[in-house]
């Protein structure tokens, strides 16, 4: 039920991140704009900017004075200064600005520290093995549908202490928030007002208040800022953030990595023969196929790279494009799984560094290790059947593969 946007004819003046050409293969578009613009502008979504160079993406990520994180998903509904619960934002801390941001973030960080995440590795590995067992004996399967999408979903559901059988409900919420961004303002507003997502979260909060558990939901309900329990809107917003941000993104990274490996016999062989290469391979997949483009709103008028950015304009912050900047990465368009120097920005830069980066990295590594152990050799059944998600999280949604050699 989405409004059709007219096809893009000029990427420098009319880009649209939901256009089928961008969705299918954004890299040539970004390369062209990076060398010609390098900050593109489009009237779509009420006015949107797009920096492409690593240098510019990085400068904006560090600049919390001229850019606000009040909304980080570009859509037809652009929130005005008074439309969101300042200073928290709808989904703290990703939608929070300094100084509140640091408080909200500090609260969550311990739950995602390397040691806390290490403790989830056995569960994750067992989950991967079970998914592979469920497909045992098949010579064709879908690396995204049958494997990648289930892994981050079930891990975050476990962390939040939600019912595992709610997986389908979760998938629908994720699509609603991240992919249906080309809906008309009326359609999108209606979805928000329906309040299904909030109602679901409120039900989980009520259950946890009545019967506290050793999970993230109870942790949040028990947490205090300045001696006070968090406001219900804060708890709910953070839960929505963890659910949404924890699923689509890592699913995309796992799927894109398997999509790459399906087409690279040399990289498959290397990972089998030299398993230690996995450490650099994971970082290189994150660089080359970084799933997440963030967004900002311009907080005050600002001259940037010869352009006049106006207060209230959207700005896409494409970390995946920064990761392909040839002025920053040698052979930026080549996937080198042993790349030794790799300051990629897949998890963002500055104060909003992805809080789940340790979790995502662990899930990606374990998912690839278990897949390669089971299927050291596989190929795409039909490259034409591979489909990619639209919006700010990029990843393959269908990756049908044929098993060439099973274990």
């Amino acid at each position: 039920m989405t409004t059709q946007h007219p096809p893009v004819e000029n990427w420098a003046t009319d880009f649209d991140h939901t256009d089928p050409q961008w969705v299918a293969d954004p890299y040539p578009i970004w390369d062209e704009l990076r060398s010609s613009c390098p900050v593109a502008h489009s009237e779509r979504y009420g006015g949107t900017w797009l920096p492409l160079r690593h240098e510019d993406v990085s400068a904006i990520a560090y600049d919390t004075e001229h850019f606000t994180s009040r909304s980080v998903v570009v859509s037809e509904v652009r929130p005005g200064p008074d439309d969101l619960p300042a200073p928290i934002g709808l989904a703290p801390p990703i939608t929070s600005d300094p100084p509140f941001h640091a408080l909200a973030r500090r609260l969550l960080l311990p739950a995602f520290s390397p040691r806390r995440i290490d403790a989830l590795e056995p569960f994750t590995r067992q989950l991967c093995v079970e998914l592979l067992d469920a497909a045992a004996g098949r010579t064709e399967l879908d690396a995204a549908v049958d494997y990648a999408q289930h892994i981050p979903l079930r891990v975050i559901v476990r962390m939040l202490g939600f019912p595992q059988e709610d997986a389908d409900v979760f998938r629908r919420f994720v699509r609603m928030v991240l992919e249906d961004v080309d809906q008309s303002p009326e359609e999108r507003q209606a979805v928000v007002e329906e309040g299904e997502l909030d109602a679901y979260m409120d039900a989980r909060i009520a259950e946890h208040l009545a019967d506290p558990q050793d999970d993230l939901t109870s942790f949040l309900l028990d947490a205090e800022l300045d001696g006070h329990k968090l406001e219900p809107a804060h708890v709910r917003g953070t839960m929505v953030l963890l659910m949404i941000a924890g699923i689509d993104t890592t699913w995309s990274a796992i799927g894109a990595s398997l999509w790459h490996l399906a087409q690279s016999p040399a990289d498959r062989r290397r990972l089998v023969d030299e398993p230690d290469t996995m450490a650099t391979a994971v970082e290189e997949f994150l660089r080359a196929y970084a799933p997440v483009t963030m967004a900002r709103l311009v907080a005050k008028d600002f001259d940037f790279q010869g352009q006049r950015l106006k207060e209230g304009d959207w700005l896409l912050l494409p970390f995946p494009a920064a990761n392909r900047d040839p002025d920053f990465f040698p052979d930026a368009d080549q996937v080198r799984i042993d790349r030794a120097e790799n300051r990629h920005a897949a998890f963002g830069l500055g104060i909003h560094r992805c809080i789940g980066s340790n979790l995502a990295r662990m899930e990606l590594r374990v998912a690839l290790e278990e897949w390669m152990r089971r299927y050291p050799d596989f190929e795409l059944t039909d490259p034409g059947q591979v489909t990619w998600s639209a919006g700010q999280v990029r990843g393959p949604r269908c990756v049908p593969v044929r098993v060439l050699r099973g274990d």
Binding site: R106, L109, P110, F112, A279, R343, F347, L349, I351, N358
Partner: protein, 64 residues
Amino acid sequence: MRVHVDPEKCQGHNRCYALAPELFDVDDLGNAFELNDGVVPPALEDKARRAVANCPEYAISISE
């Protein structure tokens, strides 16, 4: 050789700790700090350089 993590620049990407746990550790918030006053044994100098070269925030420096 010594390594130093600038706590103002570190955002907890955790790359140094993953690459060289002999030289770096992270606190409960995920922020990195150098071990052993940052002193790098000769055998770990390559690891130290790699940690520097993979920090997205340019938070690690080396002094010889």
